[in-house]
């Protein structure tokens, strides 16, 4: 049997605050945060991410955020594009429906972590997934929580993935 194809899997990391978090977090939060991280998975020459309107995809670096601030190599996968699309459709109807978006508990990084584990068995770096708890553990973060809860992050530039009947 011929060896199966291996597809590289990358994690694109964006700082949504564009450096402001690094500057201002010591003052505002009392601790140093390097950035407000938004991540996406790049595989099969497409970028996939989860936002307030569900799972979306675009060409790599194709959202309004521009090129990523850093790229992490997650590993390689044998999962084919077709299989991956089926998997994403399933996810988009269960754990990552658009209504299920929660900026703290079920956000873009949750999605990326899930997908990375599916594709390679590895998780994404912990400084990204720890961010919500880092913020919420400060008094300032707690005070801001009611305001932050309604924040909807959806980087424009992508198209929806796997939603039935054209709902998006």
């Amino acid at each position: 049997m011929e060896p199966p194809n291996l597809y590289p899997v990358k994690l694109y990391v964006y700082d949504l605050s564009k450096g402001l978090a690094r500057r201002l977090s010591p003052i505002m939060l009392g601790k140093q945060l390097e950035g407000i991280w938004h991540t996406s998975i790049v595989v099969h020459k497409d970028e996939f991410y989860f936002g307030s309107s569900g799972i979306s995809s675009c060409p790599p670096g194709g959202t309004l955020l521009g090129p990523p601030d850093s790229v992490v190599d997650v590993g390689s996968t044998e999962v084919t594009e077709e299989l991956f699309q089926e998997y994403l459709s399933s996810l988009g109807e269960s754990l990552f429906r658009r209504e299920a978006y929660d900026v703290f508990e079920n956000n873009c990084n949750t999605f990326t972590n899930e997908v990375a584990q599916f594709l390679t068995g590895r998780k994404i770096p912990s400084y990204i997934t720890d961010l919500p708890s880092e913020i919420l553990s400060t008094p300032f973060g707690q005070a801001l929580r009611p305001f932050l809860v309604s924040i909807q992050i959806q980087p424009p530039g992508g198209s929806p993935v796997g939603r039935p009947n054209g709902q998006s």
Partner: protein, 548 residues
């Protein structure tokens, strides 16, 4: 060698007493849930898949197991792949086997035996039902279908003539002809036309309750199998909306021909199983059924008839269940009961007129496509007089064509034509145009006109939320990027952001500081720059910047 080990692994598992091959606990994770399996570490992946398929009630061919990014082959041994106690394996259940969709007998479930069983038990009658099912574009079956067919079977007992009429109607045949999914549809539909007598005979035979039970048994078994499959959810969701369309479509002529009470019962019977069953992903699709049912119960059968026919016409005519637009249509209709009452009085004596209307709609797909696309122009027009008046229909088609050409040729005209209902972002062009003071403004200005053109085209051609995305993208102009940055940082007030950006001359940092200085007022104060540290340390202004 591997096979011998596999056999040994199996027998060890059965005996459960072999000490050298430990039993391990492996978690199997699907997009929907996570389940644990206990099996020997020396067992094969094939054996593992068999266990999984037993618990999940689906075919092993559709299971794909992935561990650390590698797809597990049947002949692999778990321990060799590094699958130890407590590890997690990912599972994807394919909805289609490669190259084969579940067969022409769409009533049957994914497993083979249902197909075979339905063959001998299917006579003309079941064949008719099967065709009806297919007419709804059911690529795969669902539990709803069994209920629906059961109801239909009862209907057949009660009113065979109307069902025959249903089958003979040009729409049904048109539907059957339209479906490209299966080439066998066309010859079968022509058979439909030519054999009303045999259909009647089939109806009588179907009245035999034993036959009904048989049919339903077969279907239910297969359908339950599909329902239990994790990946089966994927198939069911679009299919359930298909069924919804089929339901409403079937309601229309039936209700029309049957009159008051039986009609209301029909509607109740038809609608209620759908309301009760499980498709969680299409609550919106079910919503139309409720107003429909309520209407009928209120005794306003004629209204329901019109509603149903209008609902059904776009649905069946386009062939693609566009649930949202159909729903819009329906809600639109339900919001205008008064207006419709007068109209329906015109319509009251004419189920045949309805049929003609259906016929005309069928012949004029151009009319239906904008209908289904939910063009705002269409929403504002009372549909019923149009449907029944062929001359009005012709005029409407011409208008629609003209509008499309206009919107393509003269994009600036489109805003005037389509009126409200345009995306929010279109307010921006005058502001950004007027405020183009930023460094990047000059280079972006010439493209603004082009972008607006594209945006108007996108608006004219589609009403989906997809269009609103490019439109907001296109109209923000030079401050687009910065506006988005501000938005993701948590500044929700679009106008304030824009003002701040303009005042700051495109410098996003200065804009942020302005916004922090005066979060509420749209006009930034003159002394904002005098106290930046104070403004930054102030906090509590929704600027947590929490973004994912």
């Amino acid at each position: 060698m591997a096979r011998a080990r596999e056999e040994a692994g199996d027998s060890r598992l059965v005996s459960g007493r072999e000490p050298s091959s430990r039993i391990i606990r492996v978690s199997v994770k699907t997009p929907q849930d996570c389940q644990e399996f206990m099996l020997a570490e020396n067992s094969s992946v094939h054996h593992f898949k068999k266990q999984i398929s037993k618990r999940l009630h689906c075919d092993t061919n559709r299971l794909v197991l992935i561990f650390t990014g590698k797809i597990l082959r049947d002949q692999d041994i778990l321990s060799q792949r590094g699958i130890l106690d407590g590890t997690t394996v990912h599972l994807v259940v394919r909805t289609h086997l490669k190259g084969t969709l579940p067969g022409p007998r769409t009533l049957s479930g994914p497993t083979g035996h249902c197909t075979h069983r339905s063959e001998p038990s299917t006579s003309e009658s079941a064949g008719m039902l099967a065709r009806l099912g297919r007419l709804g574009r059911l690529a795969q079956s669902s539990p709803d279908l069994a209920d629906f067919l059961g109801q239909l079977a009862q209907l057949l007992m009660a009113a065979p003539e109307s069902v025959v009429q249903l089958l003979e109607s040009p729409v049904v045949q048109g539907l059957a002809n339209e479906k490209p999914a299966n080439a066998s549809h066309a010859p079968e539909s022509s058979r439909l036309v030519q054999k009303p007598e045999s259909a009647l005979k089939a109806l009588e035979s179907l009245q035999n309750p034993a036959r009904q039970q048989e049919l339903l048994q077969v279907d239910k078994r297969g359908l339950e199998a599909l329902k239990a499959v994790p990946g089966g959810d994927n198939a069911m969701r679009p299919v359930c909306s298909d069924i919804q369309q089929l339901l409403l479509f079937a309601l229309a002529p039936l209700v029309a021909s049957k009159g008051h009470n039986p009609g209301s019962e029909l509607c109740k019977e038809e609608a209620s199983p759908h309301v009760n069953t499980d498709p969680t992903a299409i609550p919106t699709a079910l919503a139309p059924a409720r107003p429909l049912v309520q209407k009928v119960r209120a005794g306003e059968v004629t209204q329901a008839r019109c509603v149903a026919s209008n609902q059904a016409n776009p649905g069946c005519g386009t062939g693609m269940p566009d649930v949202n637009s159909g729903q819009d249509l329906l809600s639109q209709e339900s919001q205008q009961p008064a207006g419709r009452a007068t109209v329906t009085s015109q319509l009251r004596p004419s189920p045949s007129a309805l049929r003609r209307a259906l016929h005309v709609l069928q012949k004029n797909p151009t009319l239906l496509h904008p209908l289904a696309a939910g063009s705002p122009l269409r929403h504002r027009m009372p549909l019923l007089p149009l449907l029944t008046n062929p001359r009005a229909l012709q005029a409407l088609i011409q208008i629609e064509k003209g509008l499309q050409i206009l919107s393509k040729e003269v994009p600036g005209l489109a805003p005037c034509l389509w009126g409200p209902g345009r995306p929010h972002g279109t307010r921006e062009p005058p502001e950004t145009r007027g405020g183009g003071q930023g460094q990047r403004a000059d280079s972006v200005q010439p493209t603004l006109a082009v972008l607006q053109l594209l945006q108007a085209l996108a608006n004219a051609c589609s009403q989906s939320t997809q269009s609103s995305l490019p439109s907001s993208l296109l109209t923000e102009g030079c401050y687009q990027q910065d506006l988005e940055h501000l938005k993701v940082m948590g500044f929700a007030n679009h106008d304030a952001n824009l003002q701040a950006l303009m005042a700051a001359g495109g410098d996003i940092h200065a804009a942020v500081e302005r916004l922090l200085g005066v979060p509420e007022a749209p006009v930034p104060p003159a002394d904002a720059y005098s106290a930046p540290p104070h403004g930054e340390g102030g906090g509590g202004r929704g600027r947590g910047g929490e973004g994912k």
